[in-house]
């Protein structure tokens, strides 16, 4: 339970705002950090902490692409396919990426390592195609570069698993 485990952090979050309801974004991040994603139970937990209806927590989690209401792979690849990026070939890039990882749009690889997803503008339009992996930016991509990165991530995951 977040309330017990992070009592101090939660108190600090609430102290920043005039009312509890305003702390909901911070708490959703905290919850996602803790559980990896936001399940309905987690949303209820956060809503109760912030004194709002669970539906409102659900709504916020749904609006922001940085919150995930589904379990994710270890590496969460969010590719911007918004118009400016699309003009620089992001669409094509995304499709090739899916094909390379053998997943559908929004899917997770069978080994549970990678989740791919399209998102709206990430404010790096001039460096498209781009994506963010676990909230870190990778820009000016093509298939060669991304294949290299994927190998790196795989190796990293294997190493971590071995430890």
């Amino acid at each position: 339970m977040l309330a017990e485990k992070y009592a101090d952090r939660i108190e600090k979050i609430f102290s920043k705002y005039p009312d509890k309801r305003s702390g909901i974004m911070d708490l959703l991040y905290l919850a996602q950090e803790e559980y990896g994603w936001l399940s309905e139970d987690t949303l209820r937990e956060v809503a109760a902490l912030c004194d709002v209806d669970p539906t409102q927590a659900h709504s916020i989690a749904g609006f922001y692409t940085m919150f995930s209401e589904k379990p994710k792979g270890t590496y969460w690849l969010q590719v911007c396919t918004d118009l400016p990026c699309a003009l620089r070939g992001a669409d094509q890039f995304y499709q090739e990426l899916c094909a390379y990882l053998d997943v559908d749009d929004g899917g997770t690889t069978s080994d549970g390592l990678f989740t791919v997803e399209q998102v709206m503008c990430l404010a790096a339009c001039d460096k498209a195609p781009m994506l963010q992996c676990n909230f870190h930016y990778y820009e000016n991509l093509d298939m060669d570069i991304i294949k290299g990165l994927i190998e790196q991530w795989r190796a990293q995951a294997q190493q971590e698993a071995a430890e």
């Binding site: 669970p54 709504s59 749904g62 609006f63 709206m120």
Partner: protein
């Protein structure tokens, strides 16, 4: 009229109230600006972009503060470079609007085309088809053909239950956020919200219980498409087949104006039947809202269990007889019984019924006993003196106003008033909620007063004492009030335990008091009402709009019953001196009062007019099948003393008759006049005999005037499908305080509380119950809890019971098995017992009780 500004719309100048929304201003001036997301009863959000206009303002010279003028002397207009959403504009002096230009048309065409890109072609099977804002605006705007590729259409769930009353069709939703804003802003239960964004935006709820506000049905009226439909009407009929009949909700003292949508129906033998209930606009009463009890509580009108012929008891059998036989039997008995008859009037008899019942009673005796049911509230004289001023509109109450709600679980007892008071609080009105326990209105209260049950009168009396000590007595007003000086003297030295609450009320310019009857004995209730009148009359908060007393009577027409000479005191006296003959008009005391059950069982003869075989009817010797509000005309007088007409909406059931006619027919056999041929003529008799009702002739009650906002009509996109009022706004009778020449009276009140050792039971009212009429709406059964008793945590721990456990309640010498609710709401020492969750009487007034754990 308030301050105005001049605006120009498409070259024409209009004077409109300053500071109002541009869409409303245009509407008032006869120009329609198409909208989807804007709604005149909610804050604008500018989400749909349908309301685009060209907008300009006058250029003001910074030095002179005067408008710049061009060579012709006309003010220079600065146009916004882009089109603006009219719904997010507030009118200002000199504002210039163009809505009829090609540029605006093109933009609106584009928006409409855009909204339609993924909209399903459901019109032929959509409930909204025929009264759909999107349909109507598609006819007016947009290209005939879509350029979007059909394969790109987004497919979404079409039958999503948002709770068990409202269904969502996600494909039809155009994302206007009216429903979410209604829940959040208007009702304060934010259980609906958007999920995702862009083209994937969807309405969702994960609340528990899901969409379960008492006002959920209203979202289906304001939804500009057929995305939200009710479980009641879904696929039930097409709007154009329906004949709208103005009516009045028969369930509570608010007296919401409703429209019964009727049609000839195969399932009802080809007769006219109600297919749904819709709100009908009355800005003085319910505005454009109704609660779910009113919307879904109409099924009794055509229930299979309706009694269809007079019934005579022969031993243990009921024998169906014709009216003549029934009348003769009753007339014979009444003649013999003379003074030994008591008459009991239910709380949803029409004024016409009550009048004829009273006339009948006067045929049997010169001093007939005329009681009401239920009989736990009284104080009609306090209302007559200090009742809210005519013209009161809760929606006009704001920062200068205060509202006290005392001894009532307001949302349960008068939902739409609750909604309006909640909104008044949102606008800045000071709301004080006083009761023996927390209720939902506490959330919106400026001050909450939790007194000990039994102290309600003392608390209200202390507010008057505070008025005295803080010099808030209105001397000009009290010059008209007899007994004021004596009362003031008496108030001297009274302790004021809730001084902040008192001052919150006393500092306001306008003051309305809603008084319920929770936790009070009948004697205390009379004093509570007097204490309210005392406070209002001493401080001059009476005799003008938005000031005065409103009783939260149980039922739709207790006010009418009091006005026509029935009383709760009489009912109370009947317990001590039971009559040998009972004549009961659509009341079911046997479901609520164990003592009366006994009295009915002992009686020699019992006559009951009723729509259903109630526990009371089971004691009858003769049962007279009565008509529901749907099958006949009549009037109800609401808790604000507004007399309102309802009209015949459906065909008769069996041999049923309106009760006024039944009573008049019996009266005729006792030597009375021939019955009137219509309810209108009965009302004419009333107008000639009851001075307060002199102005209530049917044609006058049917008068309507233009109301703002202008809903219904051709432009449903503006206000939704609340119906235009064509049946009459009704007339309020003025309280004595409104007549400047009238003398008014106050008197010191009795402060006797009650002392009960140990636990005591307090009956409370819940909206969704098993009362005779509402019980017939099966779709609402899941909302009616099993009979329960609410107990304080400590008391529960002490007895050793937990939430949800079945317990035995001993009260008034009887035992009842009830489910315990232990949720921290009941005060210590109190057991809250909701009324009418079953047909077995438990307790009707505060009483000592004991709780036993059963089983080990």
């Amino acid at each position: 009229m308030a301050e105005t500004v001049t605006i120009t719309i498409d070259g024409q100048q209009f004077q409109v109230p300053k500071g109002i929304n541009l869409v409303d201003a245009a509407k008032m001036s006869g120009t329609d600006i198409p909208v989807f997301c804007y709604h005149p009863k909610m804050d604008p959000v500018g989400m749909c972009r349908m309301c685009l206009v060209e907008l300009g303002s006058v250029v003001t010279n910074r030095e002179t503060g005067e408008p710049d003028v061009d060579d012709n002397g006309d003010p220079v207009v600065r146009w916004f470079p882009k089109l603006q959403t009219a719904c997010t504009q507030t009118v200002s002096e000199g504002m210039v609007v163009r809505g009829a230009t090609q540029r605006v048309r093109d933009a609106r065409d584009d928006i409409l085309e855009f909204i339609l890109t993924s909209h399903p072609l459901d019109c032929p099977i959509c409930d909204k088809g025929g009264e759909c804002p999107l349909q109507n605006l598609t006819m007016a705007y947009g290209p005939g053909e879509s350029r979007f590729v059909f394969d790109d259409k987004i497919r979404l769930d079409k039958h999503v239950p948002l709770g068990d009353l409202i269904y969502l069709d996600r494909e039809r939703c155009i994302q206007c956020a009216r429903c979410t804003r209604f829940c959040d802003e208007v009702v304060g239960d934010d259980v609906l919200a958007f999920h995702e964004r862009g083209r994937r935006l969807q309405i969702v709820t994960i609340s528990d219980p899901p969409f379960d506000t008492k006002f959920s049905g209203n979202t289906t009226d304001i939804c500009p498409v057929g995305a939200l439909t009710t479980a009641d009407f879904r696929f039930g009929a097409r709007p154009w087949e329906l004949d709208e009949v103005p009516s009045i909700c028969p369930h509570c003292p608010v007296g919401c104006n409703i429209s019964a949508s009727t049609r000839l129906d195969r399932d009802f033998g080809g007769k006219k039947v109600i297919k749904r209930i819709m709100p009908r606009q009355n800005e003085h009463v319910n505005e454009i809202w109704i609660c779910d009890k009113g919307r879904f509580g109409h099924h009794h009108a055509r229930a299979e269990e309706r009694l269809t012929t007079p019934l005579l008891r022969r031993g243990d059998e009921w024998v169906a007889v014709d009216w003549d036989t029934a009348y003769s039997e009753i007339a014979g008995r009444l003649k013999k019984a003379g003074d030994n008859v008591a008459f009991l009037a239910g709380n949803n008899l029409s004024n016409e019924d009550l009048w004829e019942l009273r006339k009948l009673a006067h045929r049997t005796s010169n001093t007939p006993r005329l009681g009401v049911w239920p009989a736990f509230m009284t104080g009609a004289d306090a209302v007559a003196q200090a009742g809210v001023g005519t013209g009161t509109r809760l929606q006009d109450m704001g920062p200068d106003s205060a509202i006290l709600v005392i001894a009532s679980d307001f949302e349960e007892e008068a939902p739409v008033w609750w909604l309006q008071v909640k909104q008044a609080a949102d606008r800045g009105a000071k709301v004080v909620v006083a009761n023996g326990r927390p209720t939902k209105l506490d959330r919106y209260a400026t001050e909450v007063v939790h007194y000990e049950y039994g102290d309600a009168v003392a608390v209200l009396n202390s507010f008057a004492a505070r008025a005295r000590s803080k010099n808030k007595i209105d001397a000009d007003f009290t010059a008209r009030v007899d007994g004021a000086a004596e009362l003031e003297a008496e108030l001297k030295g009274t302790r004021v335990p809730f001084a902040d609450a008192a001052e919150t009320l006393l500092d306001a310019e306008d003051l309305v008091i809603f008084a319920g009857g929770e936790g009070l004995t009948l004697d205390q209730h009379r004093e509570l009402m007097q204490a309210a009148a005392n406070l209002l009359l001493l401080t001059g908060h009476a005799g003008k709009p938005n000031n005065g007393l409103v009783p939260v009577w149980p039922g739709a027409n207790l006010q009418g019953a009091f006005d026509l000479g029935f009383s709760a005191e009489t009912t109370a006296a009947l317990a001590d001196q039971p009559p040998t003959v009972w004549f009961i008009g659509s009341a079911d005391p046997a479901a609520e009062d164990a003592a009366l059950v006994q009295s009915l069982a002992n009686a020699e003869f019992v006559v009951v007019s009723t729509q259903f075989m109630t526990p009371t009817a089971a004691h009858a010797n003769v049962i007279l099948p009565a008509q529901s509000f749907a099958e006949r005309e009549g009037t109800f007088t609401n808790g604000m003393r507004r007399v309102q007409r309802f009209y015949t909406a459906q065909g008769p059931v069996g041999d049923t008759l309106p009760e006024w006619r039944i009573y008049a027919n019996i009266g005729a056999r006792l030597g009375g006049d021939k019955p009137r041929i219509s309810a209108a003529l009965v009302m004419r008799d009333i107008t000639q005999n009851v001075p307060r009702y002199a102005a209530m002739a049917y044609p006058a009650l049917a008068a309507v005037e233009k109301q703002f906002p202008d809903v219904g009509g051709d432009d449903l996109y503006y206000g939704g499908t609340a119906y235009t009022n064509t049946g009459g706004l009704g007339i309020q009778w003025p309280a004595n305080a409104e007549d400047e020449s009238a003398r008014l009276q106050v008197r010191p009140v009795q402060l006797d509380g009650y002392q009960i050792e140990g636990l005591f039971a307090v009956p409370v009212r819940v909206l969704y119950d098993r009362s005779t009429l509402f019980e017939q709406s099966e779709m609402m059964h899941t909302h009616v809890p099993e009979p329960f008793a609410e107990i304080n945590n400590q008391d529960a721990a002490h007895i050793g019971i937990v939430d949800g456990e079945v317990i035995r309640l001993n009260v008034n010498g009887a035992q009842h098995l009830l489910t315990a609710r232990v949720n921290g709401q009941a005060p210590a020492g109190v057991v809250l017992v909701p009324q009418l969750l079953s047909k077995t009487p438990i307790v009707i007034g505060p009483a000592a009780c004991a709780i036993e754990k059963i089983g080990e």
